[in-house]
Amino acid sequence: MSAVISVNNLSKIYESGFQALKNVNLDINAGEIFALLGPNGAGKTTLISIICGIVNPSDGAVLADGHDIVRDYRKARSKIGLVPQEIATDAFESVWGSVSFSRGLFGKPRNDAYIEKVLRDLSLWDKKDSKIMMLSGGMKRRLMIAKALSHEPKILFLDEPTAGVDVELRRDMWEMVRKLREQGVTIILTTHYIEEAEEMADRVGIINHGEIVLVDEKTRLMQQLGRKQLTVHLAAPMAAIPAPLSNLPLTLADDGMALVYDYDANQERTGIEELLRTLNQHNIEFKDLHSRQSSLEDIFVDLVKNGVNREAMAS
């Protein structure tokens, strides 16, 4: 697969002296949906802003569709659309005027039919003559997307596109993002909603303290790091874990009404059989069994927390 964005040894030190990015290397494949996850202040927006030309890099280089973002900025930027994290619009401008402006600004000749299509796709068509200040927050966010799409970009950055957006609209946006991908647009999104990454992304990158901690395909990530949990709902409450079971990774939950067993789904022997046999041998009755795979969220929290732990240990 070919990289449509290639970030090489990128670092950013802000004027305040704060280092927001530390030697970041990242390749985004053409046509994929890439989710960038990370806690507040991890450096997601900084990374995106550098690629889009809003923030100057301190060190390193980025290629967008093969063009250096600094030396060959015209070619690089004309391929990129950006929906920034903060909604910023001209209150007195009309929806139509604003999207047309964006298209012109990116050096494209007027194309009313295309802009109409974009506005219709984003359910903004009936608002085309409204002043922006008369739009709701969700509409404004969709307008920002329309502006970003106005010049038919090959690469689309969505910096927390669904922050403050209701559930229905979020579904619509996901739908739209998928449609764009089908049209061959590469999408890079940041989000705090892990379910979003889980639902949408082909690959996931995790960034913390300005460093890329991990990049992998979502499915593999969830498999590899995916811990599974088996919950055994007991027939009668238990005060403590009985001695015969004490050598297994078990915890007692729900006021002694359930045993929770953590295991690795990828292991040859998961230990489930042994657990059940032991329960049987000791006549511990149970009503129900319930297993679940840990979510991306668990993985994420785990990684970020471990990162913190590592740091704490180092100091």
Partner: protein, 253 residues
């Protein structure tokens, strides 16, 4: 050159002008009319002619220059300050446009607006006094050059300012005094010799003098010197703007 980008910025800025038509065109026209009534008709009728030009006519170039400078600065400084303030500047920064194209768009629109305004004042003046323009081409050249120079200066202020206060302070504290002391309402020859020399350090003197020469063929400073100085100011502003974009000063972190 990216024609579509320049046009987009230019059109956007001009649209802003039409939206705020009353504020951007009407109010300077009204205030200059007041100047004509007070200085031109009321006081002017008791003044002797300067260099053979009636006082009412004498102040026209000065008044136009004064409005041209303050309006160029305020148009251009607002034009670039507002997007940095509201955050919409992200779009311009992320667009495939060069610094030159951005400046042509913003400064071009601001200069267009103030040039139109200068011409409007010129027409308004006709209602109060009779005058003739001896060198119309040079008059237009001075008008446009000054509009562009001060729009560029305004652009620099707009980038530099991070509060509304700073946006207002330079026009108020520097430009207004300089224009008042730059011979808008008098010939600097009317000053004592010492102050005449001091005045020559005021750049506005050259602009007003050259502009007045294009009307009446008489001037405080030689017209060639005026034109030369006007071009020097333009160049200084261009260098400053170039430096802003080269370093990303205040526009990019």
């Amino acid at each position: 050159m990216n024609f579509y980008s320049i046009r987009a910025i230019y059109k956007f800025e001009m649209a802003r002008t039409w939206r705020t038509l009353m504020q951007s065109v009407a109010s300077p026209v009204i205030s200059t009319s007041l100047y004509f009534i007070v200085f031109g008709s009321a006081i002017g009728s008791r003044m002797v002619a300067i260099d053979g030009v009636s006082y009412g006519a004498f102040i026209i170039p000065g008044l136009i220059m004064m409005s041209l400078m303050t309006q160029s600065i305020s148009n251009a400084s607002f034009g670039i300050y507002m997007p940095t303030f509201s955050g919409t500047i992200y779009e311009v920064l992320s667009a495939p446009v060069s610094a030159l194209e951005i400046v042509i768009g913003y400064v071009g629109a601001a200069a267009t607006k103030s040039t139109i305004l200068g011409l409007l004042i010129l027409i308004t003046a006709r209602l109060f006094v009779d005058y003739q323009v001896q060198h119309p081409v040079m008059m237009l050249a001075f008008l446009v050059l000054t509009a562009v120079t001060f729009s560029m200066f305004g652009f620099i202020i707009g980038v530099w300012a991070d509060t509304f206060e700073k946006l207002q302070i330079i026009p108020l504290m520097i430009i207004t005094p300089l224009t008042f002391l730059g011979g808008s309402f008098y010939s600097i020859k009317m000053l004592p010799e010492f102050w005449q020399t001091v005045t020559l350090f005021n750049p506005v003197v050259y602009l007003i003098s050259g502009f007045r020469w294009s009307f009446f063929g008489v001037a405080d400073v030689h017209m060639g010197v005026s034109l030369g100085m006007t071009l020097v100011f333009l160049l200084v502003c261009m260098l400053a703007v170039w430096w802003i974009f080269k370093t990303g000063y205040k526009l990019k972190s």
